[in-house]
Amino acid sequence: MATPVTLTDFSKIPSMPGVTPMTPDQSKGGFWSSNPLSSFFFETYKTVASHRQSLALVNPGTVENLNKEVSRDVFLSQYFFTGLRADLNKAFSLNPAFQTSHTFSIGSNALPNYAFSALFADDNLFVQGNLDNEFSLSGRVNYGWNKNNISKVNLQLAKGQPAMCQLEQDYQGSDYSINLKSLNPSVSPEGLFNGVAVGSLLQSITPQLSLGLEVLYSRGQGSGAADAGVSYLTRYVSKKQDWIFSGQMQANGALIASFWRKVTPSVEAGIETTLQAGMVPITDPVVGTPIGIQPVVEGSTTIGAKYEYRQSVYRGSIDSTGKVACFLERKILPTLSVLFCGEIDHFKQESKLGCGLQFETAGNEELLMMQQGLDVNGNPLQLPPQV
């Protein structure tokens, strides 16, 4: 059956089926394809691969972006701030992108009084750094090895606080995405892993539906026991791609369902419901000692819409805990935008307010002219610049 291979003839050395290119011998029925055991795996692999091809699946996107359309595009919680702020962005070049930014803020708990940030991005490298007035640094590097593989490093250093370092690897296959990340990985004196490790897989089942799994393992610096959990994810994109449903069942007992729809090219709407299950101890009303635990479920639903125009973006949302919020962003000049955001909590009788200005300046003449809507020679541009 199998003719002995003389090692002097390199073209006859069998290679792994389906992994490395086959030798001429293999393709016309050499040792590996005539051997019943290996040919079974080989044939099965080929059948599965061709069947997968015939399904016309697309990449489902990353796990991180599972409900991006709702929670990051439509909802304003990512953009909300309080107090007054001013951003002075200065662009030095567009390709590769290089920009510095100065942010001043007063009256906010979250934003530092002053922060300087710099950003550099070209086709496969993205580097960003942010340093505030208390010298705490947050940095980020993304590097794309090819169009499927991206490595990411997130770094957070602050004075008097432990450093945070997150390493992440993203792989996007033809119909699946794999993401591996680790927060503060280290090896303990006993030789055990310390830190947080998360692995996730999102696989397209049909061109519309994708299912995913996320596994989390964490272990603190102390002698505490390790913690592990599995989350389940799903995402459904409609045929016309005008609506998306996504659901997550997280290991910590949270259930998140979200729905997004593109109503018109400039209007998007989204809704998200979160149910968080937990256990609270019941205390004896007289003695005050715990007598048991009972399950509690906290839930909230937020509905929001985003209106996007050429000069302005409006976002608004209402949630079931009585909060009404809006965020308005308007470009009043090519180089100046105003931001306004407000939130009223009707049940707690609280409100928050934020106002901001964003200036765009340029580091060279060409960009300065472009921001004014002119080309290098001072003639008007055909299209308004999207700087």
Binding site: P96, V127, L155, T361, G363
Partner: protein
Amino acid sequence: MAFLPSFILSDESKERITKLINITHTVAHYGWVPFILYLGWASSSNKPNVLNLLSPLPSI
């Protein structure tokens, strides 16, 4: 490093490694933003000077 037996790493070299980690920490802390500025400066066409890079005002 503590999980390694002491005959592989002596106390001095352990100390040296800790020192090295601390130095790396400081370099990353204060060198990160200057490093990005250098990357951008090297790739931009008009090579702005340091003052231009750091000032928020438009520079031509």
